[in-house]
């Protein structure tokens, strides 16, 4: 188990290093940042000055080494556009995104687990069919379109929810739904598949034979086992949620990481784009690491391996 954990950790670090190189190259090869920084009406000499002062005239490999060393030391540099510390900027925006991400995940779990269990227990029935239909339809709806429809309905027509901002819980309702509904279907399918499998296993048959109540069989014995893969998927989905938050944050004017990423991309603010990209990658790597270890721990078969 310890060896497995160490191996997994090593891989995670390697992936992070690889992603950092890709992220750096991808963004630096994309055009002249100095021009973007200098702004409308800037003269050539201003641009040359910007290039010198920001060190954009050095060879790429030097810039990468410099960036990597500083990043490792915890210094993410200065934002070219906001002219502030990147780390502070990200620390400022992360909570909002983290909140929507978690809310959406909870929303998805709250929907997918009961629906998945129900459709597994009543496999083939109308409940099963309805849940499946909802899942398929949900995944076909573009999230930006769905977000606009929600805004139209709940803010304009019904006036139940505030349009934009992040001051109260009410501000998070529509973003949570708009972001969370898309990850619900795959989770529901997984819960259902897991439940169908578990319910048909010898283990459950034994439990049933022992005369345990159906509810106890489903929840205590069935669900616990069926949830293992859902944990893994949830980790992957959180990565998707952070990516998807770009669109949703822009629409609902939530000042989070996603919107920061969008701004940094459109303003060629490399230090910020790079930092966000790396951060999201690290979050993903960390989550998969945790979920792998958790899986290994939860699943006795894996513990032996």
């Amino acid at each position: 188990m310890l060896l497995y954990a160490l191996k997994r950790l090593g891989l995670a670090l390697l992936v992070a290093a690889f992603v950092s190189v890709v992220a750096f190259l991808l963004l630096r090869l994309s055009g002249d940042a100095a021009l973007a920084i200098a702004g409308e009406g800037a003269r050539d000499e201003d641009i040359a000055l910007v290039r010198r002062t920001y060190g954009l005239d050095r060879p790429l490999i030097v810039q990468y080494g410099d960036w990597l060393l500083r990043t490792l030391a915890g210094d993410l540099g200065q934002s070219l556009y906001f002219k502030t510390d990147v780390a502070a900027l990200i620390a400022d925006k992360l909570p909002v995104t983290f909140l929507i991400g978690s809310f959406s995940l909870l929303f998805a779990l709250a929907l997918s687990v009961p629906l998945g269990v129900l459709s597994a227990v009543y496999a083939g029935s109308w409940i099963d069919r309805l849940a499946l239909a909802l899942a398929v339809a949900g995944q076909a709806l573009p999230n930006f379109f769905f977000a606009l429809v929600l805004m139209m309905l709940f803010s304009i027509t019904l006036r139940w929810l505030p349009v934009s901002g992040s001051d109260t819980w009410a501000h998070f309702v529509m973003p949570t739904i708009a972001l969370g509904y898309y990850v619900t279907p795959p989770m529901m399918r997984l819960v259902r598949a897991g439940m169908v499998e578990v319910l048909g296993s010898d283990y459950i048959r034994t439990a049933r034979a022992k005369g345990l109540s159906p509810a106890s069989v489903v929840f205590k014995h069935g669900l616990r086992n069926a949830l293992v893969p859902v944990v893994a998927l949830a980790a992957v989905q959180l990565g998707y949620l952070l990516g998807g938050s770009i669109v949703i944050e822009t629409i609902f004017a939530l000042d989070g990481l996603g919107y920061l990423a969008y701004q940094s991309i459109t303003h060629k603010d490399f230090p910020v784009t790079q930092a966000v990209l790396l951060l999201l990658a690290l979050i993903y790597v960390l989550l998969t690491l945790v979920s792998d270890l958790l899986n290994a721990f939860l699943d006795p078969r894996m513990r032996v391996a």
């Binding site: 994309s30 076909a140 952070l242 990209l277 990658a281």
Partner: protein, 297 residues
């Protein structure tokens, strides 16, 4: 690398009955085929069906509402957009863009992902280690963010969007093909072919590929649908294809400012987009059931 990051796949066992008969009996497949078929027909016949040139502007006839509205006119059954272009014609031609993107991205990412997955699954060992590493690294990068950054730097256009998405979205192909190949390669007929001295390429292409093909089809449909949605999202953020191309995502983006009083402007392309992706997803779903062992659905 552990399999935990990999989405679980359903194992393929020997099937009974002809696949065609099973497909015809599957409601998801039939509905999906009908929807996708309709969009394909619209895309192919767009020049015949469209009442006007989708690019022709008439600045004096802007924002005419659709026919069910009391101010609607039959000349423009779905009304006109902000530049006075016929909305019906644009929606019809838009089918071409979405299908083109879905298909091209599917082919590009499918080729990359399948090649990587087959190699990793068949050769195993060090090859598998390296490829698995690349897959994990790729999975760690958020697609939307990377695609946005790339398109922003090169400049949005149809080929750029297709290539970017194609080069990014091969992960699921690779993951699924790798596991499927691993399962198939230990089967008797593969070992038999190896023992008979068949060449590697012959084994991979002749024995393994046909056996993992059902998985490929299922992933391909899912990916086509997701590519279409991604293009729409990129275009919505202003970093996708360029106007005046009638991309459905772009049409929603152009009209979102007007949605409060002219909801049809986003509802029409939004519905078209949702129906197409729904059709593709239903098809993929149905095919999964058809290929899956009995009793799963």
């Amino acid at each position: 690398m552990s399999d935990a990051v990999i989405l679980p796949i359903e194992t393929v066992t020997t099937k009974v009955g002809s696949p065609a008969a099973r497909m015809a009996a599957n409601p998801s497949v039939v509905t999906g085929l009908l929807l996708v078929g309709a969009v394909v027909a619209i895309a192919l016949l767009a020049p015949l069906l469209a009442p006007h040139d989708p690019y022709a502007q008439d600045l004096t006839r802007r924002l005419i509402p659709p026919i069910w509205h009391d101010k609607g006119v039959w000349f423009n059954p779905l009304g006109t957009d902000n530049l006075g272009r016929d909305y019906l014609s644009r929606v019809l031609y838009g089918a071409r863009i979405s299908l083109l993107i879905g298909l091209s991205v599917m082919v590009i990412s499918g080729l990359i992902g399948t090649a990587l997955g087959l190699a990793a699954g068949y050769f195993g060992g060090r090859t598998d280690l390296v490829i698995s590493f690349v897959i994990t690294a790729r999975l760690a990068m958020p697609v939307v963010l990377v695609a946005l950054a790339v398109v922003a730097m090169i400049g949005g256009s149809l080929p750029v969007v297709i290539l970017t998405l194609g080069l990014l979205k091969w992960d699921r192909f690779a993951v699924v093909m790798r596991s499927a190949t691993q399962q198939v390669r230990s089967l008797d007929y593969v070992t038999a072919a190896e023992a008979a001295g068949a060449s590697r390429s012959r084994i991979v292409l002749g024995e393994i590929l046909p056996n993992v093909f059902p998985h490929l089809i299922v992933v391909a449909t899912v990916e086509a649908g997701s590519a279409i949605l991604l293009e729409a999202a990129l275009s919505f953020l202003g970093l996708g294809v360029q106007p005046p191309l009638p991309s459905w995502g772009l049409m929603i983006a152009e009209a979102k400012n007007l949605m409060f009083f002219s909801f049809w402007l986003i509802a029409i392309p939004g519905t078209a987009l949702a129906l197409l992706v729904l059709g593709i997803n239903l098809l993929g779903d149905g095919l999964r059931d058809v290929f899956a062992p009995d009793g799963r659905s």
